[in-house]
Symmetry: D3
Subunit: 327 residues, 6 copies
């Protein structure tokens, strides 16, 4: 009976500590992450019931991934367990100017990429669900994953849930043409689109002089209830400005701009999504933008994909909590 | 025969490494710290004999705290050893913009909070003492600690020592009203007051348009020989500007302003106090301000509450040592 | 709707790595543990639904404890959240012959010790419950905890659940007389008693030439359905033999004796309890002894209080899995 | 111009520190290993020129594997670099009695498994070569790897080199029937067979009452110049006895039996092979057995697959160096 | 047959992690570095064959230094192995504003400082060599090292190789007068001089209003083919601007200026030299400046003296790769 | 006014963690140790005032060594501070059967080795002293150290103190002949000789069928008040039996034999000396043997040269404390 359901892959995330390069690593810090898992965790931490649907192998690493979702209160009872396939891995290398951080994916052959439409009972999953979230990564994993994603979107709509979608284009997984062909039909069922200007250009070919115009064009073309765009200014590898923006109901919603000292920016976009979903479901678009942006700004300071901040911290930041030590 | 004596609690300090949040910790770095211990250590490192008076339980953690004082050359022979009570703990979480660093105290029931006036032989402690230092934390620990503090201040004056006092208001320990009621009577014996504008407002209700006026008002009300105020500008969580200021002899003393890249700012105020005491006892107010500010500016770069800088480094910074690597 | 419910305190467990002594620690490994939590986790890992009832403070450490239970699939929805009190801590120092491992408790003032009878809705907790487990530590925490324990035992019986009880005498918490006065009346509701010869002597004054006779005497005096006794031979600090024994239905049940190379023996007794409960509820006394002993023998090799072994591993050990590397 | 050439896959090896289970890992120690790489490294450390032939992807992990070979002086100029495929991974979990250590393979899709017969210029590789070594793992990786192995064995013989072969049966890679079908034809070109009684039974169906008889039977069936068998007694997970034995020239060669305290036994067999090759090429069968056994006994005490011992240490052990600290 | 040969000492580099001060260290990170080794490694990583000539003791630390060179593909066959002498050590302490990073040398008595002219067969070393590089540190190590350096420079010229020289004045090793007396005669054989304005002033007494004029004066006085100068602006301890400049063929060559977030700036100058050599030997002065500056800018972000960047990364930076995470 | 004074060198001790070999180290654990410092620390921990005389360089490492002595309560006011010389280093590699642990010394050029007879005011040092302890390492460091040792022994006797001497022959420092020539004359002032059978043979040429006879012969030749001999049985690298023995007053004193699981045996002999001194000065020979053996048996389980056990723990072991976990 989760209010928010997400579908996607989670991976083991291995990163050398202390800015070491992958090639020179002698140890890896181990975390777990993946776009839709990150969203489910964020939503659960902020106070809504959430469930994450995925497929994992029956081995210690599969259990580790499940445990990390469960640790955060995410319902993992819909996970499909597999006798074959692996847990995908991504290697994350932290950089500092002028060396950008970088990711090396090693996700081929994951159990999740073998998920079949017949393996999930969506009517059970969506019982009581208010919102279903998925990103453009899930359908890119494999042909069957694309089918499952389309099936899930339809089932969510049928169950009366809203659908939110994060474009999240990954060039290692598919070409712009493939993404376009797969995603465009799906967009008609999407209520909330979350994207960046760059991804919109790549996947939908929509390029406009301003992000406001991009949002309006997306709305015009697909009829989204809400279009949300995240805006990152890379001052350097370790300092970014971060804000977001939404277009809905014919008007523009702007967030505060946060200066972030980057400990770990991976998952910030997913934190925005989680905070937006929380704010939107418990309030309105502006609350979504406010909570989403604050929650994701804090994410930049937290190691790992998952966002260990609390609702109270988000609200304190929105009230103007400063950068002085808190005793 | 310590020239400088301090009285207060020291705690185990536990902090997750690498910006991890407390909730996600899998290990803690262990340090030891506490306002008055930090001052005693600073004074000893700069070259004066110092002693630290406290109460500790007879167990490995009590010994660890004592050892860390002893390691720095602080006289620990006046510590009262207890069969009951615990070593207080504080958990420190390091943040990055926009997440401030934060402290979670777990200090209730400490052996120090049970210190009784009868347990310390102050005439022996203050034999040869030139200055006694205590902060507003010590009397806030318990009723008996308030009594011991008052007793110690009186004994120090009786022994011909100066008294320095750092307001250090802690809202977790007492209310502004309680602090005011306890501290105001004590102020008549205080020679050197160290404070911030914020604490002065909370505890003494003194709020003025400028810190200079705050200092003058404090002098007028309590007759302090020196009023020193630390001035922190939080540019971000990881970058602060730091300077200090004193009012004495009817004039204002200003320090250099240092740009600090924050590795660990805890104990910076105590380092200022230590450096000021050193400079003042071996020179004058300006030397106190100069040495105190330089020593505490360096503190921001050193892990732990204790300030491992040396007198030579303080003097090199005052001479203009740059930020280039030193070989 | 948990099949097995436990009630008790869990603590932060801090241990210096690599056999360092507490007094010389520069870092602590952080784990979470506590007798009844350990049992709930063990039962969940082996495949039964379990819930853990406790009281935790609303802070990051309270959440951490809850998270670790949740990570293992334990139902934490019955935890009482508190605005005051702390998470108790125990410091664990690993030894090697001839220095024994040792524990320093710092648990006074825990939120759990303030749990009141009015704070738990036992009828909701025990809905569908087959077995309730608690140890002698919980009633020893405070007067109100003793009341809650007695209340819980009564409620469990009323709900038709069996009650298992681990004597677990802790001399730091109460005297033998206090334990006896509190526990004897409770024993009439206990179905399964788990104990050691030593604890039985201290708490019930039952001392016999053999553990078999101890078990028979316990049965005679209190009418327990099952009496289970764990048998540890300390060959050295790092090598122990481990076996268990039960008396039920008028006969004796013996386990295999395992030679254990000790990585971390804390929680082994709780693992026995968990394995026994699993085996007994899904089979009979012999299955309880077999699974309990195998599961707890493996525990000696696993860092932390919690037992990360799986049912499959337990069954492989029972089938004779050797000590050769498994590929 | 390497005297010894080996062919095989090397993997990233990830292991949780301090006996943690894979499922509970928060960090992994990173090493590199693989049977034939381990042999090439051992041979190089003992003083012969060696080269390792493999296929690696052009990414930081591929370079890391190459670097680790190069660090030990192994010639890596024959490695085939690939735009696709991954570096295989194996996860190693260290156990203690009664929990055996265990390996979780994640090697599917490795670049090495795509190695084609056309990609290696064997005449260049074997220029000056005295001995070629490969194990039963390499042909098991893929059909093309089986072809490359057969090709390499033929080319080695043609170049006048001896061929040594370690059976190393891996049930995760193929069935006994597949192994038998592939390996039996290859055996006619093998001069030195290294195996265990267990593997000989599985792959060749040769099972005899004693290892001596197994060796004789192997010789009779395939005409090997030398049959060497490693003999491990698992006293417990952390203590093993280790010795080896050879049959050649119609007589039996026995080694000393070493009691090993196991830090890391992975790669011990490969160390035996390396030491045997060194001893045999620079002496005779007995020297091979002596050096191989001593070198591999030391391996048990060294973290990682690679054996960082030196020729001098091997010779000191053979001369009776004791277990007392060496200053 | 190395295209680039360097001569110099490498040391063990020990640094306390996480900004700890040397005095408070409980562990050291271990790296290996030394000016000319760093250059040989950089050149090899960028794609040219390189060899490093040095003298090392026959012990594990000597082997470790050799291994680290070998790991990067540097030819170590010309290293002279010694029965006496030690591996020099330098302790590196990382600072943050206003505490500069600092180095404590412990290099007296190194095996390298005992290198004798008779110990290296330069005709063999320089067979096929295009460029020989050495810095002002090598002749400063000892009288015999000064002789070996002069001998090597002559032999390089005789073999038709260019000579590059990095002034690298170290006040702990010799006085400006000693440096001047030793280096001036050597300059006549130098083709490429790499220096800073500061070192030029100290060693050659050349001080001019601009670095351009310094370069021109150096050219006029010694007739260098190229004079390259590195330009560092210390914005703070953790942020520097970095650019370089060359004078050759009667014109000035400028590089891009990079803003560097400093993880570890040690070895940046050596990386410039390596990149310059690569660019110059495979192109021209501008390519040298471009590749040298980009490669060394990246160095600031990489832990250790050695620069683990790749040619591809250098070229991407030159093409304008941004600071956004790379997936 | 220390009751016990020792004279000797202390070194930085660097050891790779987790049984890594020195050659493969990526980090070192940092400890401080040296025979006579270890003794001074042991004596202080057991409850007597002690002072340690040495010479250290004025740098962070020199201060670190001083701090570690001070942390344990040892009087460091007699240390001679030097502008030149280094802190000696020893590298310690932990082994496991059949690889012994080993030490690589890097102590040449230490400040201590330059200590001159004129630098210590022995009359001040020995004011109130009851016992002076030194080992055979100190005179072996240099000619001037031999002179200072002889001077100190004479001064101690003159001040009415007993002299204890630990032979501690180190073959890396001098030959048996040199040791004999230096030590024999010194023996006439020695009251308590601590040695092993092996060292007695090497240095004094005394070899007898039993250690009892060795002790009698030593007594006969030099007239020692007490001869104490430590007896180690190396069952394996990680398991030793440990006991001691003394000859005094014409009779033999035996200790309990302890089975030790070796975490770190370095400094065990020094712990025996410290415990013996404590027991002998506060009791008699038997108390010396008992306390010395128990204290040193515990040492085997404690990381580092220094023995962090307490008097209470020693007495508990003597009372028969077992190997079961202590709560």
């Amino acid at each position: 009976m989760a209010q928010v359901v997400t579908l996607g892959e989670a991976m083991l995330r291995l990163s050398p500590p202390d800015f070491h390069r992958l090639e020179q690593a002698t140890s890896f810090d181990v975390k777990v992450g993946g776009g839709e898992l990150n969203v489910a965790v964020g939503v659960a931490r902020l106070g809504l019931d959430s469930a994450w649907v995925s497929k994992l192998p029956k081995n210690p690493l599969g259990r580790m991934v499940r445990n990390k979702a469960r640790e955060q209160g995410v319902d993992t009872s819909h996970i499909v367990w597999s006798d074959s396939g692996r847990v995908g891995i991504y290697f994350l290398e932290f950089g500092a100017n002028p060396r950008a951080s970088s990711v090396l994916y090693d996700r081929a052959g994951s159990a999740m990429s073998t998920l079949q439409p017949s393996e999930v009972d969506w009517s059970r999953v969506f019982d009581g669900c208010k919102l279903f979230h998925v990103s453009g990564i899930t359908p890119a994993l494999s042909k069957s994953c694309a089918e499952v994603t389309a099936q899930a979107v339809r089932a969510a709509k049928a169950a009366g849930a809203k659908v939110s979608f994060d474009v999240n284009y990954r060039r290692k997984l598919w070409t712009p043409e493939e993404a376009n062909a797969c995603l465009v039909p799906m967009m008609e069922s999407v209520d909330i689109l979350i994207t960046t200007e760059e991804d919109t250009g790549i996947v939908f070919g929509i390029r406009e002089p301003s992000y406001q115009q991009v949002a309006v064009r997306l709305h015009e073309r697909f009829g989204f209830e809400v279009v949300a765009i995240t805006l990152r200014e890379d001052l350097s590898v370790l300092r970014n400005n971060w804000s977001t923006f939404a277009y809905a109901n014919g008007r523009f919603y702007e967030s505060t701009k946060y200066e972030c000292e980057l400990v770990d920016r991976v998952g910030a976009g997913d934190s925005f999504t989680a905070g937006f979903i929380y704010g939107y479901l418990t309030g309105d678009v502006q609350k979504g933008i406010d909570y989403g942006t604050a929650y994701s700004a804090i994410k930049h300071s937290i190691p790992g994909d998952l966002n260990w901040a609390t609702l109270e911290e988000v609200e304190n930041l929105l009230k103007g909590a400063g950068s002085r030590i808190q005793r």
